[in-house]
Subunit: 211 residues, 2 copies
DNA sequence: CGATTGAGACCGACTAGTTGGTCTGTACAA
DNA sequence: TTGTACAGACCAACTAGTCGGTCTCAATCG
């Protein structure tokens, strides 16, 4: 629940308003887009004021950055956990997908804002985010490469395009996934894993996997 | 090249400005987003005026709709052509993907605007676009269903999620594809087809396909 | 034939409203 | 007293959209 991550001790209600602003603007941005919501609307929805807002954020753009950074940092950590827990590329891939897909359930508005509004990030912020996005891609790429090197994934696969295909397939969920749809997020994750492994594994490995 | 589709005779330069406004705003929206570009900036970039703009469009929102509608209509026609040309589900899927992927090369800004800015479409317009998007999805779903019914695609695949996976994988290209990247759009399309068919086909069919 | 007319294409100053952001003031805790 | 956390009136800049006017040119008329 808490966005505080510093680990420093702090007065118990110090950033209460800051968190409320983030949570509120997140749902508002999700519904109407970054430019579809004014600072006035945010503060009204929070029951606070312009003063309150600009006490915690230097600009509306900084708020957008904070949302972006919080999300990508979280996802990055989860992916690193996923690959460090396993040794087998198949298992790594499985863990990454399943952990990422869970994020769609927990942080849907974060994701929507992340993918929809990142063009509006101003230069000082955009580089920081780009860097972390690239790190995430590299994790996927490295798993594919490892799988190919070990003869588990098909050797004719181009690493980067295959990686982007997987990312695209999973990321696109934010456009259509709804919590009250027919399938749970875990079921959807399993389907993704099934499709991806069928696309990646060599025929020999596939036989081995089934048994 | 021409957006004119009415079939009515018209003076040869009648809608020249309208097309220029569309083309110009397309690249501007692609770079800065719908709300990142003002009407003043559009008319300045076109060398025209407010009057010129509002002579052709009733509002900035209508311009956004025209861009959306032009693109989705084009894609829809291409997909219908693709499935009517073939009888075999595998071939249909292949044709759809390859024709769609070509669009990324030809209409990159259209696509970016289509996926990024559709939340800003106003109610009268948004329904019209939604309808056509749904039609496109149905085409994909029907091909998958047909493949399963004919025993060509794996029967355990859930039609809709598989369809959305394919759509996501291909659509996501708009986030990263660049014309001067390492691969041509046709090569990328072939990789997509390879991944998708490996994910969908039954083992028996795969053997048959290779020979 | 030339003159008249009128409709569509376009111009650009203008407006009413909104935007992100500032600044002074206040309540309260240490 | 001093610093933090917030309030809300205020502002300059910008926004989408309007409206009276001009120009061009084809159709009509004498």
């Amino acid at each position: 629940m808490s966005l505080n991550v510093s680990g420093y001790k702090r007065g118990c209600s110090l950033t209460e308003l800051k968190e409320k602003i983030i949570e509120t603007s997140l749902t508002l941005f999700d519904q109407h887009g970054f430019h579809g919501v004014s600072v006035n609307e945010i503060v009204k929805a929070c029951g606070t004021s312009k003063g309150g807002f600009y006490h915690h954020f230097s600009s509306k753009d900084e708020l957008l950055f904070v949302i972006h950074d919080y999300f990508i940092t979280y996802v990055l950590i989860k992916a690193q956990e996923a690959i460090s827990e396993s040794t087998h590329p198949t298992e790594k891939m499985q863990k990454i997908i399943q952990s990422f897909v869970k994020v769609f359930d927990l942080y849907k508005p974060h994701i929507s804002v992340f993918y929809q509004e990142s063009i509006y990030l101003k230069p000082p912020y955009v580089e920081a985010i780009k860097k972390k996005r690239q790190m995430y891609k590299e994790i996927i790429f490295s798993v594919i490469k490892e799988g190919i090197d070990k003869g588990i994934f098909r050797s004719e696969l181009p690493v980067e395009i295959t990686g982007m295909s997987i990312l695209g397939m999973v990321n696109w969920s934010y456009k259509w996934y709804k919590r009250d749809g027919g399938k749970t997020i875990d079921e959807i994750g399993d389907i993704y894993v099934d499709l991806i492994l069928n696309a990646l594994l060599t025929d020999k490995q596939k036989e081995a996997e089934i048994t």
